[in-house]
């Protein structure tokens, strides 16, 4: 009986992940087109609209970069934990925690000048994300509790906290009974660069460069990767796994918290339960496609920013924006499958071929 077997290629093709990403995009577009056809939409028209609104001009490009900024930060957050084999899938919640603390600090500090207020709020964002991550990080490093589930559970908790503040202590007295939180002070708005892009994009880019160098070029980064890939070797080399896990997870939470503060001061004007807007979850896909490398995060975040802006624009054609979420997941699935075929080839194995192949 003949059956297909995956055999590792003797020569692994170069740049497989980049190629896999491209194949992933193409695969997702094909699957998305089938879905659109089945639901009586014209895929060419839909894709054209998506492309135009995301990449068709300087204004569109600025929208894409605006979206790519939080994606790059959450992607980096997931990647920092991921570079030592940990999964922070609660970036969504840490964004909320960061934005919440930043809002609270802005409320307490009256009359700070713009740059100082922004610095304080961004720093509180980092702290807020770290605070939410503290429990999962301690539980993971001391007791080995799966950080996958604990970080995710706290997403729901942090969103409820904002809902609670919205109707309770932080309810805007001037909102005529409508439950919402006061806008952050006008001087807290991140300075714009062009179009809808603000310096948040530069902050994200700067952090990507810093972490890219830190992970690949420093002893700290080497130990981090070593602790992830071969914990026993790392232990013999004198690396404290416990502290590495704590550091990686807290940093990850801090970066996601910063994403929340950047989103608050750069794009939104007030804290709402919807502020994180799925960026934390998309960040997981971004980091996974980038193989946890900060350089890759930048590229994937840009593409995903474009997909999301495109997804918004097709609502005017009467097409659900859920298409963009589906496309993101399909890019990942297709890329996962493609990369397998770059590293393995299919051989038909059976009784007859067993000898001839050797």
């Amino acid at each position: 009986m003949m059956r297909p077997v995956l055999v590792r290629r003797d020569r692994v093709l170069p740049a497989t992940q980049a190629l896999g990403f491209v194949v992933g995009i193409v695969g997702a577009l094909v699957l998305g087109a089938i879905l659109l056809l089945v639901s009586d939409n014209n895929p060419v028209e839909v894709y054209e609209r998506m492309f135009d609104s995301a990449l068709g001009g300087i204004d569109s490009l600025s929208r894409t970069l605006e979206r790519a900024t939080p994606l790059a930060l959450t992607g980096l957050a997931v990647a920092v934990a991921g570079s030592m084999g940990l999964w922070n899938i609660g970036a969504e919640g840490q964004m909320m925690a960061g934005a919440t603390l930043a809002t609270g600090v802005a409320m307490m500090t009256d009359g700070l000048s713009g740059p100082l207020l922004i610095a304080v709020m961004l720093a509180s964002g980092v702290v807020g994300g770290m605070v939410l991550m503290l429990g999962p990080a301690l539980a993971r490093s001391y007791l080995g509790v799966s950080e996958i589930i604990t970080t995710l559970m706290l997403v729901y908790v942090s969103i409820r906290v904002v809902e609670w503040l919205e109707v309770g202590h932080w309810k805007d007295a001037g909102s005529l009974g409508f439950p919402r939180i006061e806008e952050v002070p006008a001087q807290a708005a991140l300075p714009g660069l062009f179009g809808r892009v603000n310096i948040g994009a530069l902050i994200a880019l700067g952090l990507l460069v810093v972490f890219s160098l830190a992970v690949s070029r420093t002893a700290w980064g080497y130990e981090l990767r070593l602790a992830g890939s071969s914990p026993n070797t790392a232990r013999y080399a004198g690396v404290s796994l416990r502290r590495k896990i704590l550091a990686a997870l807290l940093l990850s939470g801090g970066i996601a918290g910063l994403a929340g503060a950047v989103q608050l001061t750069g794009t939104e004007v007030r804290l709402t339960p919807g502020l994180s807007n799925g960026f934390g979850f998309s960040g997981i896909i971004v980091a996974a496609l980038a193989l946890m490398r900060p350089s890759g995060v930048a590229v994937v975040a840009f593409v995903f920013g474009a997909v999301q802006v495109g997804g918004q624009s097709i609502q005017t054609l009467g097409v659900s924006s859920a298409i963009s979420t589906i496309l993101q997941a399909m890019i990942l699935f297709s890329a996962l499958a493609a990369v397998v075929f770059f590293n393995y080839r299919v051989r038909w194995a059976g009784a007859a071929s067993e000898h001839s192949d050797v």
Binding site: A139, G168, I326, V340
Partner: protein, 318 residues
């Protein structure tokens, strides 16, 4: 607190327990075979929307339930294809399944959101038992899916613990190479277990849209799939302990919307004055606390997790 309110709380406890138990039981099969599937939330969402839509078309809750089971198995099959057949990372594939499944459910159900259901499961009282005071109402006057879940739990225990198939399934989760050497098909067992897991999750999702909250609303699974994943750890990969955990989580899920109506004081706080938003985080905080307690108890003992959980198997790389 009135007697009726208390009985109502336990009736709802059993129903919420059924919801998370079905999904967790499916995840238990996959994990016992060595495959971590973090896509439960996505599979439940697809089950919920497809169950509701088939219910609209056919008017039959059982046809809707069956459709949700099939859809769940197919969605689970995607995870099996990527992570078992192709051997890609199980965590990545599972997360993509959750994100993609929730997105696809939103897309598929975009035109039926808020529609009034054509059909739903109704309570089925068991003659003779349903009249017992308190217990009758709590355990024997429930929708058929509740009884089905109890039956499936018993069957699952029997299959896993007492049959050759169950032995092979557990073996492939502990050591895929050994199981392969003995002559079982690693791929067949694992793909089968993941698809059965998907079927359970799909069914659980439709229990939500066909009984607990009849209708379809985007995001209606609301983290209950993730609670099911945590429940498998709580239940130490055992169908019986899983049932106990399901009742505990079912109780907190049922308690949350009801505390508002309980006029009792606890530690100097009137419970009906606690904000619903704060009560809403209880099941999720409880999950974290419970996981920490479990890990604390196992800190000096080997984990009860299947040894090969999360590890892809390729015969050529043995």
């Amino acid at each position: 607190m009135s007697e009726a309110a208390l009985v109502g709380l336990f009736v709802a406890t059993v129903q919420f327990a059924t919801l998370v138990y079905l999904a967790a039981l499916g995840e238990l099969f996959a994990e016992r075979a060595g495959v971590l599937n973090l896509g439960v939330e996505g599979m439940m969402a697809m089950g919920a929307v497809s169950g509701f839509m088939v219910g609209l078309e056919t008017g039959s809750p059982w046809a809707a339930f069956a459709a949700a089971i099939v859809v769940g198995a197919l969605v689970g099959g995607l995870h099996a294809l990527i992570s078992v057949v192709l051997g890609a990372d199980q965590v990545v594939s599972g997360l993509a399944l959750t994100i993609g499944g929730v997105g696809l459910a939103a897309y598929v159900g975009r035109n039926v959101g808020g529609r009034i259901p054509e059909t739903q499961f109704t309570d089925m009282s068991i003659a003779g038992l349903a009249d017992i005071r308190w217990f009758g109402e709590i355990f024997f006057d429930q929708p058929p899916v509740v009884y089905l879940a109890v039956g499936l739990g018993l069957v699952s225990w029997f299959v896993l613990a007492r049959t050759r198939l169950g032995l092979a399934l557990r073996a492939v989760g502990e050591s895929a190479p050994t199981t392969d050497a003995v002559g079982h098909s690693v791929m067949g067992l694992r793909v089968g277990a993941v698809m059965v897991g998907g079927a359970f999750a799909g069914g659980a999702g439709s229990f939500l849209s066909l009984y607990m909250a009849p209708g379809w609303v985007e995001g209606m699974v609301a983290g209950r799939g993730w609670i099911a994943v945590a429940l498998v750890i709580f239940g130490a990969w055992h169908p019986g302990r899983l049932a106990f955990g399901a009742l505990l989580f079912g109780f907190t899920l049922a308690l949350q919307p009801r505390l508002q109506s309980f006029d009792i004081g606890l530690l100097g706080v009137q419970v009906n004055e606690i904000s619903p938003a704060l009560l809403g985080m209880m099941p999720f905080l409880l999950t974290v606390v419970v996981l920490v307690i479990i890990s604390w108890r196992y800190r000096h003992r080997p984990s009860p997790a299947p040894a090969d959980l999360g590890i892809a198997y390729r015969r050529e790389e043995r």
